[in-house]
């Protein structure tokens, strides 16, 4: 069917182009007649103006004389006739007949998909279930159901962990929040919320993440997931002793062959031997068990030098934090002098967030946004990170 209609279209267009080539206009028009016509028209216009009085006496005479001169010149010009038909017309016919169908067909076969039917949504049959698309269909159906029944807490509760598995973190956050709102708080829901928030913040245990896991732990004190994230949060805050103690406790309470044990052991070892420096550079430790990998906004930061780390390992906790604060302040000062360094800004805002200085992070963000004007890629990057960290810029132009 497609090819029949395509053929009809091709023939129709070819014929419409051939018609002028087969029967060239009989009547021969001299090109200068067009000029004469225009000038005669202008003369009539002048007469009309005189009649209504908007052109008077001498002005009218001048105008009439001028157009008259042009008219005479035009009618004296060489005649410019067009030939009815020449040998070139035959070339034209050939060009149309050969080129048009050939080009259209070749072009279409190169890029088109002739067998493919249109698939309006309303007429779509259920797709063949392979496992992945099956989940997608189920999710789509559940979404449709929830869009019309947003108060169905059970639906949100079922959907939330599926979103988490599909790595749709924002959606899973919404779903968990709705489930908690409608069905009440449970350890599993709070922990799930914590995980989606953690993934969105790019691997940082923010205050929000901590709150969620804290609630989960209050509801179910022996939940290893919340214990792990709360300990990670402590480590990111630089409270290494406490973090280490919590990890040790988690290890003691877990069966030795639990899936998360290798990670926990690694943390314990690191916190035991190494300064908190590295944690403050906010590495996103891969979360345990079934939490999907996180694509946080990666920022390659020139980290502290080897000497710095060596020095830091000799320090006490307070001294170490002082040193870090000093480095952050240094970065801040550098950005005041050279505000074009967009990676620097990202690093500064992140450092503030890791240190728990939310206000300073917000200030830095506003300053950075002020510096980068509208329609700027750096600005976009800043905004993207800000929204992932849950920071609201103070003012937004567009």
């Amino acid at each position: 069917m497609f090819w029949i209609l395509a053929a009809v279209m091709t023939v129709a267009v070819t014929i419409s182009l051939l018609v002028p080539l087969m029967r060239p206009r009989k009547k021969d028009i001299d090109a200068r007649e067009f000029d004469v016509e225009v000038y005669s028209d202008q003369l009539r216009e002048i007469e009309r103006d005189i009649k209504i009085g908007s052109l008077s006496g001498q002005e009218a005479e001048y105008a009439r004389a001028e157009v008259g001169r042009r008219l005479i010149k035009a009618s004296k010009a060489e005649a410019d006739h067009t030939a009815a038909s020449t040998g070139l017309t035959r070339f034209g016919r050939l060009a149309v007949i050969v080129f048009l169908p050939f080009m259209a067909l070749a072009g279409y076969l190169a890029v088109g998909q002739p067998g493919m039917p249109a698939q309006p949504l309303a007429t779509r049959v259920a797709p063949v279930p392979d496992s992945n698309s099956n989940i997608q269909v189920l999710v789509a159906q559940a979404e449709k159901h929830l869009a019309s029944n947003p108060q169905d807490g059970k639906g949100w509760d079922v959907l939330a962990p599926i979103y988490l598995g599909l790595n749709r973190m924002h959606d899973s956050e919404t779903a968990y929040r709705n489930a908690i709102r409608l069905l009440g708080s449970t350890a599993a829901r709070q922990a799930g919320l914590g995980q989606s928030l953690f993934s969105q913040s790019g691997g940082i245990v923010t205050a929000e993440v901590q709150e969620a896991f804290q609630k989960a732990q209050d509801l179910q004190p022996d939940n290893p997931l919340s214990a792990y994230f709360l300990a990670l949060g402590l480590a990111q805050e630089g409270k290494n002793e406490q973090a280490r103690a919590d990890f040790v406790k988690l290890a003691e309470n877990s069966p030795p062959d639990a899936a998360w044990m290798p990670l926990v052991r690694e943390h314990i070892q690191r916190l035991g031997t190494q300064a908190g420096m590295d944690q403050l550079q906010a590495e996103a430790a891969p979360p345990p068990v079934d939490v999907p990998a996180v694509d946080g906004p990666a920022v390659d930061a020139p980290g502290p030098s080897a000497e710095d780390v060596a020095a830091a390992s000799q320090m006490s906790n307070e001294e170490r934090l002082d040193m870090i604060a000093g480095m952050v302040a240094g970065l801040d000062a550098k950005l005041r002098e050279n505000p074009d360094d967009s990676t620097g800004w990202l690093r500064l805002i992140r450092s503030h967030m890791v240190l728990g200085q939310r206000d300073q992070a917000g200030d830095a963000l506003s300053r950075a946004l002020d510096h980068f004007g509208a329609d700027n890629a750096d600005r976009q990057a800043l905004l993207a990170m800000a929204s992932q960290l849950g920071l609201e810029p103070k003012e937004l132009k567009q």
């Binding site: 067009f34 001028e66 030939a83 009815a84 309006p120």
Partner: protein
């Protein structure tokens, strides 16, 4: 199947356009009537084919056919029907289709109504149009094909950019494209004249209505875009000198110059070569605008998905057409016979002055737009040329131009009497001066410049009225004759006066908003009040609400004046579910020409919310002025005097050239 047929039709259109690019040119050189006859047939065929392809794409959008990649990327089954429809051009590929559709529509109009054009001119014009069509069709098919398919088809689309889900999308792009692409006709006429080596008398009569139609649409399109950005983006401004805005403003400035020089050319056969140059420049600037917003050079809502190959492709088209046209101009301009002569003080002289100022202003905007881009490309340094640059350069250029506007229409053709015109304008000057003084006196704390600025707007309006009054013979002839003369005035006289008045209205709006607008940012809790201009706003609180494809938080305000409630408004923060993208819906209360503009900011813990309140006196004048200008354009278009009959068809009724647009 309709999708694939649309795809086939698009490729067929390219084949047709390529034939139309070559055969008529050969025909015009050899005076072969058969080959020249291909031009109109092919133009109409291309139009039908591209229309079919466009309809096929639209059907895919309306039926949510997500097997079409373009539909999947930019639509969603839950979207209201109007946005499914206007969403066709709310993306890169679809908007190029609209661009093409308008282009071939105009070619078809030339083919259909061009019976009164000399055959060689008509063939050359249509061939040049076909060059443009072929170039952009190739571009669409190779880099931005809207008919790419997906298999298996996804179940749900990715949704249209929420900022574009607005009635503005149904109006702004089509109007803007009518303008941009309308100038392509002027360009084709200019290049055709250069190819032919002569300018027929019919040339000017055709170019002026096309310029006028394109200019009218562009004016309306820019004004609509400005108002859309004003109410949608929630930052309360109406013009930002953003490169994207400048990209549309430059063709407008050049087009305005072209409009005026085409006038001289039609009436006086003067400024022929200059008009051709302007026609080339105007369309070149339209192409430049397309390049700037599509290539990814700028980041903006207009850029859609950026792809470097597209940028390079458009750059090639740009270089080929602009370079080619200017090279042709350099080669052939001297073969054209120059036009008539005139004294410096004359209507022609005034229009030359207008052209000088407008082209200089265009150059200023061009420099301000391109300099940061060039600098970044060369040195990597990022600078931003903002409003200060334009206020310092563009502003001073406009003031003398605006002062001179009322003189132009009153001067006589060929040789005028400046002193006599000045005497006729004393009333207008007096009124303008009085208004200036009144503004300075009554508006406490108003800068003196604001008073003078508003006076300038009044001067433009009064000057236009003077023009109409003088042409009707006010003070010279008896009342009945005056009335008869008034009625007999050509519509173009009214159109011109209306457009100049609109300019004055816009100037008043711009000056008033700049000088008298107030802005405040406050934190409000339910029940608290704040002041905007003469009104008091009481915040009633935030309330969640669900739209078809978004959820929003509405803030409701009661507006009262002197303790009496007069109205209420609702501002909202929306989140579109599919893209999880937040937008701001400003709440606007219009009172006369003034507007109270409220945008919601962040929510604060404890039930408070940051609220931005602008009081914008006379702000709607800015867009009303533009509407007046467009109306002026339309009135001029319907001027009966644009009629010319074809010599071959003297029996048939003459076709009104202006009416087909």
């Amino acid at each position: 199947m309709i999708v694939e047929l649309g795809h086939y039709a698009l490729i067929m259109a390219l084949a047709t356009a390529l034939l139309q690019s070559v055969l008529p040119i050969i025909g015009a050189r050899t005076r072969d009537a058969g080959l020249m006859g291909v031009a109109p047939a092919a133009a109409i065929a291309s139009f039908v084919l591209i229309l079919f392809a466009f309809v096929a794409l639209t059907v895919s959008y309306v039926t949510s056919d997500f097997s079409v990649k373009n539909v999947w990327e930019n639509s969603h089954s839950m979207m209201p029907m109007i946005y499914k429809f206007s969403g066709v051009w709310g993306n890169h590929e679809g908007s190029m289709m609209l661009w093409l559709l308008i282009l071939v529509f105009f070619s078809a109009l030339v083919a259909f109504f061009g019976g009164n054009l000399p055959a060689t001119l008509k063939s050359n014009v249509l061939a040049v149009q076909a060059w443009i069509t072929s170039a952009f069709l190739t571009f669409v098919l190779l880099t931005s094909n809207p008919f790419q398919r997906l298999s298996p088809a996804p179940l749900e689309g990715r949704d249209l950019n929420p900022i574009l889900q607005d009635i503005g999308l149904a109006i702004h792009p089509p109007m803007l494209y009518l303008g941009y692409v309308g100038f392509s006709i002027c360009f084709s006429f200019a290049v055709a004249a250069l190819i032919d080596g002569r300018i027929d008398a019919a040339w000017a009569r055709w170019v002026r209505p096309w310029t006028l139609a394109a200019w009218t649409a562009l004016t309306a399109g820019i004004a609509m875009g400005s108002y859309w950005a004003y109410y949608e983006l929630g930052w309360g401004g109406w013009w930002f000198w953003d490169p994207v805005e400048n990209a549309s403003f430059m063709p407008w400035l050049a087009g305005t110059a072209l409009l005026h020089s085409a006038l001289v050319m039609e009436k006086r056969e003067a400024l022929k070569i200059w008009t051709i140059l302007l026609a080339i420049m105007t369309f070149s600037l339209s192409l430049l605008g397309t390049f700037l917003v599509r290539s990814g050079v700028l980041t903006s809502v207009h850029a859609f998905a950026t792809d470097p190959t597209r940028g390079i492709f458009i750059l090639c088209i740009l270089v080929a057409f602009i370079g080619g046209a200017f090279a042709l101009f350099a080669l052939r301009a001297q073969t054209l016979s120059p036009g008539g002569l005139f004294a410096p003080i004359s209507r022609e002289g005034a229009l030359v002055l207008n052209n000088l100022f407008l082209t200089t202003a265009t150059a200023t905007v061009l420099v301000g737009t391109l300099y940061p881009l060039v600098l970044e490309a060369i040195t990597g340094a990022k600078i931003s040329v903002g409003p200060p640059f334009f206020n310092l350069t563009f502003g001073p250029l406009m003031i003398p131009l605006l002062l001179a506007v009322p003189f132009g229409p009153l001067l006589a053709w060929k040789r005028g009497d400046l002193w006599a015109v000045t005497q006729r304008l004393y009333m207008a000057a007096g009124v303008a001066l009085l208004v200036s003084l009144a503004v300075i006196y009554f508006a406490t704390g108003a800068p003196v410049m604001a008073g003078l600025g508003i006076g300038l707007g009044v001067w433009l309006i009064a000057g236009s009225l003077t023009d109409i009054a003088m042409r009707s013979g006010v003070g010279k002839v008896a009342l009945p004759i005056m009335w008869r003369r008034f009625k007999g005035l050509p519509r173009s006289a009214f159109g011109g006066a209306l457009a100049h008045m609109g300019l004055g209205v816009s100037v008043i709006g711009i000056v008033a908003v700049t000088a008298f607008a107030t802005e405040s940012v406050v934190t409000m809790k339910p029940g608290e009040t704040t002041v905007g201009g003469p009104f008091t706003l009481q915040f009633e609180g935030l309330k969640p609400n669900t739209g078809p494809n978004y959820t929003e938080l509405q803030g409701r305000f009661v507006i009262s004046r002197d303790g009496q409630p007069v109205s209420h408004l609702t501002a909202a923060k929306r989140v579109f579910t599919a893209r999880q993208m937040p937008t701001t819906e400003a709440g606007i209360y219009t009172n006369g020409a003034n507007q109270l503009y409220v945008a919601l900011g962040d929510e604060l813990p404890g039930g408070g919310v940051v609220v931005r309140v602008w009081w914008k006196p006379w702000v709607t004048f800015i867009w009303f002025g533009a509407i007046f200008m467009s109306l002026g354009g339309i009135v001029s278009l319907f001027d009966r005097r644009l009629r010319i009959g074809a010599p071959a068809k003297s029996r048939a009724p003459a076709v009104a050239v202006g009416q087909e647009t």
